[in-house]
Amino acid sequence: MGFNAKEMIARRVAEELQDGYVVNLGIGLPSMVANYIPEGMSVTLQSENGILGMGALCAEGEEDENIINAGNQFVHIQKGASFFDSATSFAMIRGGHIHLTVLGALQVDEQGNIASHIIPGSMVPGMGGAMDLLAGANRVIVAMLHTAKGEPKIVKKCTLPLTARGKVDLIVTEKAVIAVTPEGLVLKEIMPGSSVEDILQHTEADLIIRDGLAE
């Protein structure tokens, strides 16, 4: 289930891409979105360690020791790619030049707050570039499994330390597509294999359900 669920999420997030987008994908599940960029669509991937125009991961033997992505993986670059330093990279990110970032999360709440970088006492990897991406990207999509060990991740109010306040625009899980609006969280789509009951049972936050919901 785990693998297919993640693939399903990545595939659905990819439907949000638009021609000409510059996108930064977080590590893990979000990076899988790159596998589903629609044919013929021009999407440029930014990696915050200093690449615009990142290509696919390198197979064994193809690595260039000087070229990695922000997840410490050896990658190819596309024709017309560029390299730059960290200050320039974050000027792109904070400066509103990145159309979309797709990130994972531990919790997202009704106000579009996101907690993704720390579980005090157990997981303290550091925020890396996540806070800058959340602060500066034009649009933020959270791509994550709907629950963690059965516990809802879409909550009324984040209990974990925030990575950003009110920055999430859309949440895509294996169960649902949920938009963050000024009125609250709006259930936009039910993913294949799920149902309104299933979603409500696994969601702590209140969901606004409107007529004409896509199933």
Partner: protein, 217 residues
């Protein structure tokens, strides 16, 4: 003005207890030869400023494993479990800073600026103890410059005047770090004569570099 010196001579200038910036992103092109000799020379109690603590056995990861670091200022430590272990055991102080803020603080340190305003970290614990300012209706945090006693940087091609070219993604924090330390040592993969590295390809101008060492010594 030949800046090339022996690596032993260079590492003698790096003292225990100093604050040191180290280039590299997840240990891709950290100055490994300098780091190895620092460990061999038993240089301890360092305050290290870097993007991350690499992975065990590579780059800054080696300094962590050998207990050379008293304090680490970085944006990410998730790929080196030993860093987390030392932090949780109270053996290593870790200050985590958003990556863009870290880069810009270092840039400010080298560029003669007194600080900058960033939206990054608003509404999070990063705010704590910081002044918030509203400009044109938007909230920003006031962040201050970072400087170091020493910066050690890896360069792909370096001429003897200290002009540096970086391949691929290896420039990462090097450009800002080279500006923000009192003593800057570049570990070169290849050392060339002035003129061999065309001016257009210089990414760190030699003015920022004090000494150059070869990586293979």
């Amino acid at each position: 003005m030949n800046k090339v010196i022996g690596i032993n001579e260079a590492v003698k200038m790096i003292k225990s207890g100093c604050t040191i910036m180290i280039s590299g992103f997840m240990a891709v092109k950290s100055p490994e030869a300098l780091i190895d000799l620092m460990i061999k020379n038993n240089i301890k109690n360092l305050t290290v400023i870097a993007n991350d603590s690499a992975v065990p056995g590579k780059g800054i990861g080696k300094l962590i494993t050998h207990r050379c670091v008293k304090k680490l200022i970085a944006s990410h430590i998730g790929l080196n479990p030993e860093t987390g272990r030392q932090m949780n055991a109270g053996e290593l102080e870790v200050e985590l800073i958003p990556q863009g803020t870290l880069a810009e603080r270092i840039r400010c340190g080298g560029a003669g600026l007194g600080g900058f305003l960033t939206p990054t970290g608003i509404g999070t614990s990063v705010e704590e103890g910081k002044q918030k300012l509203t400009v044109n209706g938007a909230e920003y945090l006031l962040e201050f410059p970072l400087r170091a006693d020493v910066a050690i940087i890896k360069g792909s091609v370096v001429d003897t005047l200290g002009n540096v070219f970086y391949k691929g993604t290896t420039q990462n924090f090097s450009l800002v770090m080279a500006m923000a330390a009192d003593l800057v040592i570049v570990e070169a993969e290849e050392i060339v004569q002035p003129g061999e590295l065309k001016a257009e390809y210089v990414m760190t101008p030699g003015i920022f570099v004090d000494y150059i060492v070869g990586a293979e010594m």
